[in-house]
């Protein structure tokens, strides 16, 4: 049946947590999702698979309303445990006629509840009773309003699975807010409903039932079947009500069990009501999912923006040639000052002197220069990553859904998220090394291709590569005044030297390539960094297109809604 398939399609996306972010009324949306999934599992799918299965009437209501006593009295046996301590019923009891036992013992209806017979453990006690006619089962549900949260949730689940509500209220309860919220939802879903006004002192029967009828009419539930059971002084806590006070209810139930046509009318009323309610509930849920999606997109774009800013910081650090200054500059001057360059050019003279200088000072200037360059780039990467993480964290704590997400991470973890990751230093070091290798390769290639290979060799490929790296930072210029004298002068020198070796155009190309390569590597590093944020989102994000899947499923259900047969078939 297409309708069944459509419902199954609707059920599928509901397995996941669809509302992980605290956006809008997420708690309400989560409840709606849970309710929808529960109703599909417990009621709609099993009911559509077997339209002529026995009718399930759930006796629900407030704590202390006398549900258990009523069920015992209706069945004429002590099948459930009433008592004065609230809440009384913790394990729901299902009373079935022997003929229907097999259907209910199979996990058709309420598949998530394990069945128990006798005094065995289980989430749903099943008791057979001859007092009930075949085709009708009574379920004594827990209360809807006591302090025990599990009871309230279970009661809501059971009521959502019912073909018929036998809603019990009392003279003291009938104007309570909680039961009325259930009654209103029954009206919205056109659930078949009968109301039992229990525990009315005999002198108050008239005014109270009149007032209740007024309330029912006010809430659009006029015409609801209303039974009144006067309060009786019971000889014992577990005594049953006198048979005559519950006779109207029991005879109505017996009649319902005997009349297959009426039974199927009740089933269809509740079923089509539930299907109709999907037309508004599912799109509302889809909208909520879209709100979540928008919040996710917002959080993601905050992170993306923050890390784009980080890359821009790095670019700015490279562009103004400032990497040359400070340490790099000092080392560069060492490099020039100790005659390293000269040594490279006139290797024979330089060799001996270098050995002597190296022997006394124990240092090799060229290596120092490269170290300075590395640590400079690393510091720049770290600063950019730190700043980006900080901005992303700040953005999150102001964005919808963000603070809640951070709170779930805990203060320690979120503080860690606000800084660059601990192993960034190691990774940026290896990235810089990779870049140097690339630059050296570039120089080698260029040297091999051109006729300048010999001159590059005389320079020492390492020295030329080093100069190229310096050139990468200074090539855009932007230096003025004294800074040109201090920083630009040296880079200008290296530029000139390189140009002499490779030719002007080649240097420019090499510099551009070296710079682009470094930038790519840094971008990858920062992307890895930003993934720490993205991972937090991806861990909880519902799959894309969920909202659409929900809408399409609701649409299909609406289309195939007419397939619901008007009368139940006689076939098993």
């Amino acid at each position: 049946m297409d309708l069944l398939a459509a419902l199954e399609a609707l059920r599928r996306p509901l397995d996941r947590e669809l509302f992980p972010l605290a956006v809008g009324e997420a708690a309400r949306d989560r409840r709606a999702q849970r309710e929808l999934a529960g109703q599909l599992d417990d009621y709609l799918l099993p009911r559509l698979r077997a339209l002529d299965a026995p009718l399930l009437a759930v006796v629900g209501g407030s704590t202390g309303a006398g549900k258990s006593t009523l069920v015992n009295s209706l069945v004429g046996a002590d099948v459930t445990e009433p008592g004065v301590l609230r809440p009384t019923t913790l394990v729901p009891t299902l009373v079935v006629s022997p003929a229907d036992r097999a259907w209910f013992m199979g996990q058709n209806v309420l598949p998530s509840l394990s069945r128990a017979t006798g005094t065995g453990p289980g989430a749903l006690r099943v008791v057979t009773s001859d007092a009930l006619g075949a085709g009708l089962a009574l379920l004594d549900a827990p209360d809807i309003d006591s302090v025990v949260v599990a009871n309230r949730e279970l009661a809501a689940q059971l009521l959502a699975a019912a073909d018929l509500w036998l809603f019990v209220t009392t003279a003291a309860r009938y104007a309570d807010e909680v039961p009325w919220s259930f009654l209103r939802s029954a009206r919205e879903r056109s659930t078949a409903l009968a109301l039992v006004l229990d525990r009315v002192s005999p002198d108050a029967v008239g005014p109270v039932s009149r007032d209740l009828s007024r309330l029912l009419a006010e809430n659009g539930l006029d015409g609801t079947l209303l039974f009144t059971v006067p309060e009786a002084v019971l000889p014992a806590e577990k005594a049953r009500l006198p048979a005559e006070t519950v006779r109207p209810i029991s005879s109505w139930l017996t009649g319902l069990a005997a009349d297959a046509a009426e039974r199927s009318r009740v089933v269809r009323q509740t079923l089509s009501g539930a299907l109709d309610s999907l037309a508004t509930r599912v799109p509302a849920l889809a909208e909520a999912v879209e709100r979540q999606q928008a919040a996710f997109d917002g959080l993601r774009s905050i992170v993306a923006g923050a890390y784009a800013g980080g890359l821009a910081d790095f670019d700015a650090g490279m562009r103004d040639g400032s990497l040359l200054r400070g340490e790099v500059l000092a080392r560069w001057q060492d490099f020039i000052g100790t005659g390293d360059l000269m040594r490279s050019l006139e290797s024979r003279v330089g060799w001996l002197r270098d050995r002597i200088v190296g022997f006394f000072t124990g240092r090799v200037p060229e290596l120092q220069l490269r170290d300075a360059l590395e640590s400079g780039v690393e510091a720049l990467i770290r600063g950019a990553a730190d700043g980006a993480a900080e901005r992303a964290l700040e953005g999150w704590s102001a964005a919808p859904g963000g603070p809640d997400l951070l709170e779930r991470l805990g203060p320690m973890e979120s503080a860690r998220l606000g800084r660059a990751s601990a192993d960034l230093g190691k990774r940026s070091e290896s990235a810089v090394r990779g870049w140097q290798e690339y630059v050296l390769d570039l120089v080698r290639e260029e040297g091999a291709e051109r006729r300048t290979a010999a001159r590059v060799a005389s320079f020492g490929v390492n020295g030329a590569g080093l100069l190229l790296m310096l050139g990468a930072f200074a090539s855009t210029g932007g230096l003025t005044g004294i800074e040109v004298g201090i920083a630009g002068g040296t880079s200008l020198l290296s530029q000139k030297l390189l140009e002499a070796v490779f030719g002007d155009q080649a240097v420019r190309t090499l510099t551009v390539a070296a710079r682009a390569d470094l930038r790519d590597r840094v971008r990858m590093l920062l992307e890895e960094e930003s993934y720490r944020f993205m991972a937090q989102l991806e861990a909880v994000e519902p799959p894309g297109g969920t909202a659409n899947a929900l809408r399409v499923a609701a649409e299909r259900i609406h289309i195939h809604r007419a397939e619901l047969p008007l009368t139940t078939g006689e076939s098993p």
């Binding site: 704590t63 309303a65 807010e177 400032s322 510091a379 770290r382 201090i486």
Partner: protein
């Protein structure tokens, strides 16, 4: 009465003051509703204290149909409130007064227009009993009225019945959040007559269990029946006892303060370790400032400045003490210090003639403060030839507010250096914030960054002020200079003498007698000795200048580090300390508000 009030007063007063202090300290740091909630509590407490404290306002609150109005009528001894079977019955609160003179303004404050003087009863004298509407019916307005009055009344009497005593609406919405108010609460299990006699005790026991779960251990719970009158005497005597003490109002306010303070203080308020954390944080920053100062020194170009100081000293020494014949060549080379524009403008309070041993380790801030208020010295001396910006010795002080220190030309911090400074600042913030609860940790981290914009300028100012001292000219330069010129004069004299002799010889004039030193004639001694001595003095003083430059560079480096450390302390660590101190004070205030000491 007055005595009682005085006895209760100070403790509650100080707790309220502490709560207000905590609220204002938490302003902008903690969630807005917790802060405004604490303020509202303080405001309410102030209002209640100014109203009649001889009356105790007790409210009968509960679900619809639990028999609040029946109980109210039974206690008042009259049919004051309508009792009915149609739910909800009571829609507005009303009050019954026992000896209610002087309670008018209190009832106005509570917003109860319907009042009734009950038959005088000595045991309940001073009681104002309120019959509240229900909190759980479909009438939302009833619940709002209950919510409003539950916040204001002195004593809460919760009326429950065997059907409804376990309702989530009661326990989740009222009893659990009010667990701090257990001293101003009574619970009455009404309609006990509807239970079989043996079940009453069990039911009461179960109610007791639920109350304990709500955190209301010790709250009196008693069974009663408005219909049969059972248990009413007990309830009446309980009420009478509370009324006679006349301190329910302050107990209630104290409970309000406890609730608000707990909410404000968060989980840290309970274990009481918070102030230790704050102090520990201040200690932790002590180690962090080294790294920060190092990064700042680097960013401020301190190594460059120090190098320039050494070179500049040598340069100026050569200009001042070199051999007069060749020293002018030196002037064609740039002065490294002047190139960085160090020592070209006089920083406030700098006295070049101050003895050198006063230099190291002296913060510029202190110097500036030291001279503030001194009259402006005369500037007649003007800039000297060699050092145009150098102020005349002795009286270069400026009046306060004129402390303009020119920007040096030390290259601006590179992106790398800036990144390192930022990382160091973040490290400081993180170390200081460790162990603090979330919002406060964020505030501390924020405080560390709060003045980082000013850092660059302040550090440069410190560099300009501190390194200016390195441009001081040692006195021996002048002495050597005089000596150089004397030697030069001798050499010149020798040359002239020899020249004269040569001219006379050329013109075949008779030679005057020539004094000799041994065998060498005087003019030759003067010429050669002068030249030799000049070069020798120049070489020696160059050697001295080299050593002096090194020493001076070392001292400058030390002074710069101290000065920059001072700046980082002022701009980074001080805001952090202020924030940590604020947190410590906040926690102290919360603790005071919680235990009243």
């Amino acid at each position: 009465m007055k005595l009682l009030r005085r006895k209760e007063g100070p403790s509650l007063d100080s707790r309220l003051a502490a709560l207000l202090e905590a609220a204002s300290l938490a302003e902008g740091r903690l969630a807005e509703e917790a802060v405004s909630g604490a303020r509202a509590v303080a405001e309410r407490a102030g209002a209640r204290r100014n109203l009649s404290v001889d009356h105790t306002v007790a409210a009968l609150a509960g679900a619809t149909g639990s028999g609040k109005s029946s109980l109210y009528n039974a206690l008042a001894g009259e049919e004051l409130a309508a009792v009915g079977v149609v739910r909800p019955t009571t829609s507005t609160a009303q009050a019954a007064l026992w000896d209610g003179e002087g309670s008018g303004s209190l009832l106005d404050w509570l917003g109860i227009p319907q009042r009734h003087s009950a038959a005088p009863a000595p045991d309940l004298s001073g009681l104002i009993l309120l019959d509240l509407p229900d909190h759980d019916s479909i009438q939302l307005s009833h619940r709002l009225e209950v919510d409003r009055l539950v916040e204001l009344v002195d004593l809460l009497v919760w009326v429950v019945d065997p059907q409804k005593y376990a309702d989530a609406a009661l326990h989740d919405r009222y009893l659990r959040p009010l667990s701090a108010h257990r001293d101003v609460m009574l619970v009455v299990l009404n309609q006990a007559d509807r239970l079989p006699a043996h079940a009453v005790e069990r039911c009461l026991g179960d109610l007791r269990r639920l109350l304990d779960e709500d955190g209301l251990t010790g709250v009196p719970a008693l069974a009663a029946s408005a219909r049969t009158g059972a248990g009413l005497a007990e309830l009446r005597s309980l009420l009478g006892e509370r009324v006679a003490h006349r301190r329910s109002w302050s107990t209630r306010l104290a409970a309000d303060v406890t609730t608000a303070a707990t909410r404000l203080g968060g989980p840290a308020a309970e274990d009481g370790t918070a102030s230790g954390v704050a102090e520990g944080g201040a200690g932790r920053t002590a180690g962090m400032d080294r790294a920060l100062t190092a990064a700042l020194c680097d960013a401020a170009g301190v190594p460059l400045v120090v190098q320039a100081v050494a070179k500049g000293h040598r340069h100026r020494a050569v200009v001042a003490t070199g051999w007069p014949v060749t020293r002018w060549i030196r002037k064609f080379r740039p002065d490294p210090l002047r190139r960085l524009r160090i020592g070209t403008t006089a920083p406030a309070g700098e006295r070049p003639s101050r003895p050198p041993d006063r230099r190291p380790g002296e913060p510029p801030g202190r110097l500036r403060a030291e001279v503030a208020g001194k009259p402006r010295g005369e500037l007649a001396g003007g800039p000297r030839d060699e050092l145009p910006g150098e102020p005349p010795g002795g009286s270069a002080d400026r009046p306060p507010g004129v402390g303009i220190v020119g920007r040096t030309s030390v290259p601006a911090a590179s992106a790398v250096q800036r990144a390192k400074v930022e990382t160091a600042i973040r490290d400081v913030g993180e170390a200081a914030a460790a162990g603090l609860p979330g919002p406060w940790a964020a505030a501390v981290r924020q405080a560390a960054r709060s003045r980082s914009r000013e850092l660059a300028d302040e550090v440069d100012r410190a560099v300009a002020t501190t390194s200016f001292r390195a441009t001081r000219r040692p006195r021996w330069w002048r002495a050597v200079n005089v000596l150089q010129w004397l030697v030069f004069a001798a050499m010149l004299a020798g040359a002239l003498w020899l020249g004269g002799l040569f001219a006379m010889d050329y013109l075949r004039l008779p030679q005057p007698p020539l004094p000799t030193v041994g065998v060498v004639p005087w003019p030759t001694v003067l010429l050669l000795g002068g030249a030799l001595a000049g070069v020798l003095i120049a070489l020696l003083s160059r050697l001295a200048a080299w050593a002096g430059g090194r020493r001076r560079a070392r001292r400058t480096a030390r002074a710069l580090r101290t000065a920059i450390g001072q700046v980082s302390d002022e701009l980074v660590l001080a805001p952090v300390r202020v924030e940590l101190d604020r947190y410590a004070r906040f926690m102290a205030a919360i603790n005071r508000a919680l235990d009243g000491t």
